[in-house]
Structures are given as C-alpha cells and as structure tokens.
Amino acid sequence: MRTFIYFSIGILFGVVLFKSEVASWFRIYEMFQFDSFHMYGVIGSAVFCGALSLFLLKKFQVKSILDGEEIRIAPKQNVWKRYLFGGVLFGLGWALAGACPGPMFTLLGAGFWPVLLILFSALLGTYCYGFFRDKLPH
C-alpha cells in the first residue's frame, strides 16, 4: 500500500516534469541563456508554493498522514564548502547533460534511451564521490 502511494506520487512527478518541459535539454539551455522566463517561473512558483505549504504544515504542527508521527525536516550541515564545490560540479553537469536526477527517470520512461548513459555515468559519479569522500573538503 505504502509503496503504491509513493509510486503514485512518482507518477505525478514524472508527468509534471515532462508536461512542463523541465526535462527538456533545450529548456535547460534556454534557462542558462536567460532567454525565457519559463524555467525560472517553474522553479520560483514551486519554491513559493512549497514554502507556503511547509509553513502551514509547521504552523499547525500537522502529523504525518501515514503513521501519525511528527513531521521533521532534516537540517542541512552548518558548512559551506561541500555545498559550493559540489553545487558547481553539479551545475557543470546539469548544463551539459541537460538533465538532473528527477528528469533522468522521466526521460527514460519517455523512451529517450541515451539517457541510460547519463544514468549509469551518474551512478559512477556517485560511487566516485563515496570513494574519495574523505579526501574532499566539506
């Protein structure tokens, strides 16, 4: 049952990423060229509505609908190096491959098979991070 709920949320996510064209390589290129408001509108309105809904969840101390436990959002670490350096590397890849992790899955379902190459490389990249983790500034 729970698996089905999360699977369904994923379907919604996949449909939205495709229909709002966030998964399109072209849209990512256009965003970094500042040629269209589209991507900024998507991300901006998502953050605006997201902030509003998280605020309301916290204000009314809403409990988790599945198990009644308190909703806790994990804090991020109080450092900056990993966020900046990791962020820059991610951005380089995002602008090149034109796909971040969510859209990778969407594009796979949409039948763009070369995305498998991106996905496997991303897994390799994740593995390499884990391998070199102790040697990197965080």
């Binding site: 999360y6 949320i9 994923g10 996510f13 996949g14 449909v15 939205v16 990423l17 495709f18 998964a23 399109s24 072209f26 256009e30 970094f32 060229q33 269209s36 900024y40 509108g41 998507v42 991300i43 901006g44 309105s45 998502a46 953050v47 509003l52 809904s53 998280l54 809403v62 988790s64 909703i71 991020k76 450092v79 966020y83 900046l84 990791g86 962020g87 590397l89 951005g91 890849g93 995002w94 602008a95 090149l96 491959a97 034109g98 971040c100 992790p101 969510g102 990778m104 899955f105 796979l108 379902g109 039948g111 070369p114 190459l117 490389s121 991303a122 990249g125 994740t126 390499c128 991070y129």
Partner: protein, 186 residues
C-alpha cells in the same frame, strides 16, 4: 479542456504541481530528493562492500525508489498519452543560437537529435558529452548533498541557507558550462 491538457503546461501549472509533490512527500513523513536514489542504487548493487559511504540500510529508502519508478512511468504516460505535441516552444533567440551549433531541431522536438536521437550511438562525441555530464551530476549531487529537488525546491522552500549556497553553485557551474564550454563543444 482535454485539448488544453495535452498542450505543454505553462510554468504556473508546473511549478505549483512540483510543490504538491514536495508537500505529499513531507506530509507522508518523507522528504523530496531524487539524487539520494543514486546512492541507494549504488548501495543495492553492493558498493558498500568497498566504500563505507554506501554501507547503510538501503532498504529503508525503498519508498524513494518507488517514487523514482513512478517517475519513469509518469514520463511514459505523459509522452505517450498526454501530449498532442512534444515540440518545445523555445524563445527565438535560443533557437537561433542552437542553430549555429547545428541543432536544427530546436523548437521542433523535445530533445536534441544530436545527443538523444537514435543516431547518437554512432557518435562517440555524444557518448562522451552525456557520460561526462552524467558523471558530474552524480558526483556533484552527492558532494553537495542534494540536487535540484533536494536543494532548489525542498531546501529553499524551507529557508535552509546551505541550500541557497548549493543553488548558487548550480548556477555558477551551469552558467560557466553554458556560456564558456558548450560553444567549444559543438
């Protein structure tokens, strides 16, 4: 209505629906983060044997793998049944710039044929570019502790300043690639 539905969705529909996904995941006691699945998959494939970073109870993350599986199916449904056209209505400026790169399908398709078409298999350069891009996305997302969903959407919505640093990083890297490296690659 159905006709409108099958057109590409404008930003003011897409953005709030992404927020709905964030809301549903938080409301069910989870969090919104797609790149964590890459770590989970590494772990599930046995990466924990050599690297401690992948030694964790990955099965507890199976709910997120279900989200990822749903995202794949969502992409299939949207492309097969909910789209009368998959052409992306890009700005004319972008179409002209991409034309110079040789991307003659800009504005007419969902993805560039050069990188994602059937012929790319015979183009070693396309392999290299997608492989490099994917590697950087995977490495960078884990180094930064999140990707667009975890930092740009979830983190900024929660006013977490580390996420703001990460998003600034995304744009430093993205703008540099887009303006200073891509022109030399195509």
């Amino acid at each position: 209505m159905l006709n409108y539905f099958s057109q590409p969705w404008p930003w003011y529909i897409g953005g709030p629906l992404i927020a709905l996904v964030l809301f549903l995941l938080v409301w069910t006691g989870k969090s919104f983060g797609m790149s964590s699945n890459l770590r989970t998959l590494c772990s599930a494939m046995g990466a924990g044997g050599k690297v401690p970073f992948f030694r964790f109870e990955w099965k507890r993350q199976s709910w997120n793998l279900a989200v990822a599986a749903g995202t794949i199916v969502g992409g299939f449904i949207a492309s097969q049944f909910l789209s009368s056209t998959t052409a992306v209505a890009l700005s004319t400026d972008t179409i002209e710039k991409l034309y110079v790169f040789g991307f003659t399908d800009a504005g007419q398709s969902f993805m560039p044929e050069y990188l994602f078409g059937a012929d790319m298999l015979s183009q070693p350069k396309s392999w290299l570019l997608l492989g490099m891009g994917g590697f950087l996305v995977g490495f960078g997302a884990r180094y930064a502790g999140g990707c667009t969903s975890g930092h740009a959407i979830s983190g900024l919505s929660n006013f977490q300043w580390p996420s703001l640093i990460a998003v600034i990083g995304f744009f430093i890297g993205g703008l540099f690639m887009n303006h200073f490296i891509l022109p030399f690659l195509f």
